[in-house]
Symmetry: C2
Subunit: 519 residues, 2 copies
């Protein structure tokens, strides 16, 4: 048996090769074992005996899948959710609990009157040169409504406190509103008024609180959730996605979607092969992962398999917890392996991770007075202890960095301390109060010591429709969460992903429910 | 008609989703227009009426394809080459003409006695943390033999001169051996003895000279080349690649490969969609492309479509021609938008491009005395003129950089000039002779002004066999050139790509010819 017929070739020829990329216009199967040549694509609609059907089939029961299911159901659709794991939650339940929002009633309650425009400007600045501004505009404009929706789902933000002083992370218990990105850093404060955007549901200030509310809503709406039922492949009929082939506890399960399928099965953080194929940086790869543990890329793969385009596959969330987990460390001086300071040491973890990952050397160092590394958190997050040095020359010897460069870096830093202004990176004067003077400690904090999660995924439009490589929507197919590519050009703050996860999850569910049912 | 049958699903289920990535175990077609649902994969071997057959079918007639065809033919195979364009050459014919080699007779002729180990050490150092050292070992070990092979194909290196002083590029006419990477830069000179590796065939010192010799050899061997015959899809039978569906001038053309198919159809530089999906940097994207003009990713797509894995899709060759094209510019000071110097200004173009692309800001600046921007080349490559400034304060005003940081950068640079040693980046004292003093000129040279080419592609093993996502070779399928992912972790020098293009092209051709013919 051969996998390519002449007829199908003729059908594909004109558009296939030139625009093909990840999502190809047509493809043939490769068997894991080569002893058989079963074709993956054959037969007619009559061949599929549906085991189950619904208007909207949602693949993945994390934050995006739950949001999609809730909205589809509320719009009157019959919904079924397929989840691979024994319980729902995905990376939403595993995340830090932040939802980045602006222009919300909670901000108002705490005396912060932010416009959605200000939120938009912040997101654009923080997202960098490759951000999708149209999608960011949509997320910003929908932010107040998203807040109300979260509250309606049962999230409690009211019982927490506001923190307008710290970059949150690690010390956010009992806080429901705080900085969860780089709002306070000089370059971003110049682009938008620096107000806190990180919204944290109580009582736990964690992703569990987010998913608990979502799953309670899913249950109250009577939405069917099939656990331990991984979707394997999309079923396409006449160019339209009409269902999903899944594997339930009792074996194969063909699930028909009368109106549409929403892919919301997460990123590819835990798919080592795919990460290796996409990791772009010349420095050493980060090793620890930010995910709920099962971001295997399967949803992305299913989309690719039927010709979907992708966005931002080389975009990774990279964190260096130095500061957000232990604020006293912000008093140190973070340098690359050539001895140059690389970032304001009080910036948010993803900006710190970016600076470390893009540094000219895989190895970076934190130079810091021992007095700032006293509590357990500071000890834990400072990095790998290298040495305590009595002079710049000793520091040079311990790191292999030229003494003259180290001397310059330290001199300039101390001049900034004296002036109370960090002209180079704009570190908050709070953390600029102490000159770096020998003896000081050296800790190693290189790119390998960062952590990461995938940001790239399928390409969607503002209606959460999955696009093919010619930018045409694939009928019947939606995606949200990290099955879709991040709208930012760079991961830039805790809760920024949740903002697009919930916004586009909701849109996907609504729009899938609004499709005409297939006969 | 539905694209997924129950049977095929069962066949794929176990392995598909979890490890799937770009190359899926099985996929269904998405039609460009949705009015029909022609299945791309159906029928049996009997359905394919072969229009043509050969032992080895080579897809793409650039450097890798030519090398594969030559070796397959010499090994006794009947070979046919399919090329999309009206003539062969691809990006090989368009390249600068360098082949990076070490331990060669030409080096010896010029009094340079390099070991392959030294070459290996240089390649590893320059390729960075994510280099594939096993593949680099193979390339280095095979380098002397590759030189002999190139000569045997008719390349003339003997009539040119050696240049052991300059980074070549733009002024290499008549030179057949010179530096084409960062060998002379401090960090790499510490890793390996700095000797020139760039081998340039005469009389043109260009990629045309390379391809002319290869195509003459192909012709002399009587290898059939079908021009304007793009391959569209691989034909798989029993898990084995058995041929190619192509489109000739007279229509569809099914080409059977009795022994194997070699994919050598280039990278995806000209596929904007795929570049957009993979471009990883937070800074602005480079806009000008390094390619022969038709790197549409089709070969990579064909591999992906049957389950091939990929390597380094986020890896791009990034060049900033400042120095290699106009050496006087190396006397300037290249800084990022925060005012910090980012690289030794005499480094090779890809290292300059890397530094600019990884800088904290999209915009970088060259500060330089007007006396160094006199000739046409210098004027052309300096970048976009911003201003002539009479003081550091004026420079700060013209760039928006803090005057104190600029002052520090210039002071330190001038101290290095005085000492004759660049402690920070190790620039050659030749280019460190002139302090930067006002008045000086400012030119803009940001990430958008760099140029780029794709380095990622299909994953191959040391036998040039294409691997699937479980690292198992796909029977009958080979890849080389930029259809396969670069063996370096970062593009690091002119001719480094040609080294792996020719080495793995040769291996692919030999190994395909050595397969048992299919019945």
């Amino acid at each position: 048996m051969t996998d390519v017929s002449r007829r199908s070739f003729i059908g594909m020829g004109a558009s296939a090769a030139a625009l093909a990329a990840f999502g190809l216009a047509g493809c043939a199967p490769k068997q894991a074992s080569s002893e058989s040549s079963a074709s993956a694509v054959s037969g007619s609609a009559a061949d599929v005996k549906w085991d189950k059907e619904a208007d909207v089939v949602v693949v993945g029961y994390g934050g995006a899948g739950a949001a999609a299911a809730i909205e589809a159901k509320r719009a009157g659709a019959e919904v079924v959710v397929l989840e691979e794991m024994p319980k729902g939650g995905g990376s939403t339940a595993a995340c830090g609990g932040f939802i980045m929002m602006g222009g919300t009633p909670l901000q108002k309650k705490f005396g912060i009157d932010e416009s959605v425009d200000n939120f938009y400007e912040y997101l654009c600045a923080a997202g960098g040169a490759n951000a999708n501004k149209d999608a960011i505009r949509l997320v910003a404009d929908n932010s107040p409504a998203l807040y109300d929706w979260c509250v309606e789902c049962g999230m409690d933000f009211e019982s927490g406190q506001v923190d307008t002083e710290h970059h949150l992370g690690g010390f956010n218990k009992g806080i429901s509103l705080g900085f969860s990105g780089n709002e306070m850093a000089r370059d971003y404060a110049a682009a938008a008024e620096p107000v806190p955007h990180g919204h944290l549901p109580q009582p736990g200030s964690s992703g569990q609180d987010i998913f608990k509310a979502l799953s309670a809503t899913v249950e109250s709406l009577g939405i069917e959730v099939l656990l331990e039922t991984p979707a394997r492949r999309l079923v396409v009929d006449g160019g339209r996605v009409v269902g999903v082939m899944a594997e339930g506890p009792d074996g194969e399960c063909a699930v028909r979607a009368r109106k549409g399928v929403v892919l919301a099965a997460g990123g590819f953080t835990d798919n080592d092969e795919m990460v290796a194929a996409c990791w772009p940086y010349p420095n050493e790869r980060a090793t620890s992962k930010i995910s709920g543990g099962n971001e295997n890329g399967s949803g992305i793969a299913m989309g690719l398999a039927i010709g979907a385009a992708t966005r931002g596959l080389g975009d990774f969330q990279i964190g260096a917890p130095t500061v957000t987990m232990a604020e006293p460390l912000a008093n140190g001086v973070l340098i690359d392996g050539k001895g140059r300071r690389i970032v304001a040491e009080d910036e948010y973890n993803s900006f710190m991770g970016k600076a470390i990952t893009l540094a000219p050397t895989s190895t970076c160092y934190l130079l810091i007075d021992a007095s700032f590394v006293q509590d357990d958190a500071a000890k834990k997050w400072a990095g790998e202890y290298v040495a305590t040095v009595a002079s710049v020359e000793e520091a040079a010897a311990a790191t292999g960095i030229a003494a003259s460069v180290l001397q310059r870096t330290i001199e300039f830093y101390n001049r900034s301390v004296e002036a109370g202004v960090d002209d180079e990176f704009g570190k908050d004067p709070r953390f600029l109060a102490t000159p770096l003077e020998a003896p000081f400690d050296i800790y190693k904090r290189g790119s390998a010591a960062c952590n990461f999660g995938s940001c790239g995924g399928l390409k969607i439009d503002l209606d959460a429709r999955v696009l093919d490589t010619a930018d045409a929507p694939i009928p019947g197919l939606y995606a949200a969460g990290r099955n879709s590519g991040s709208i930012y050009g760079w991961y830039m703050g805790s809760g920024s992903s949740m903002a697009d996860v919930l916004t586009f999850g909701r849109i996907a569910g609504k729009n899938a429910a609004a499709e005409s049912a297939e006969a």
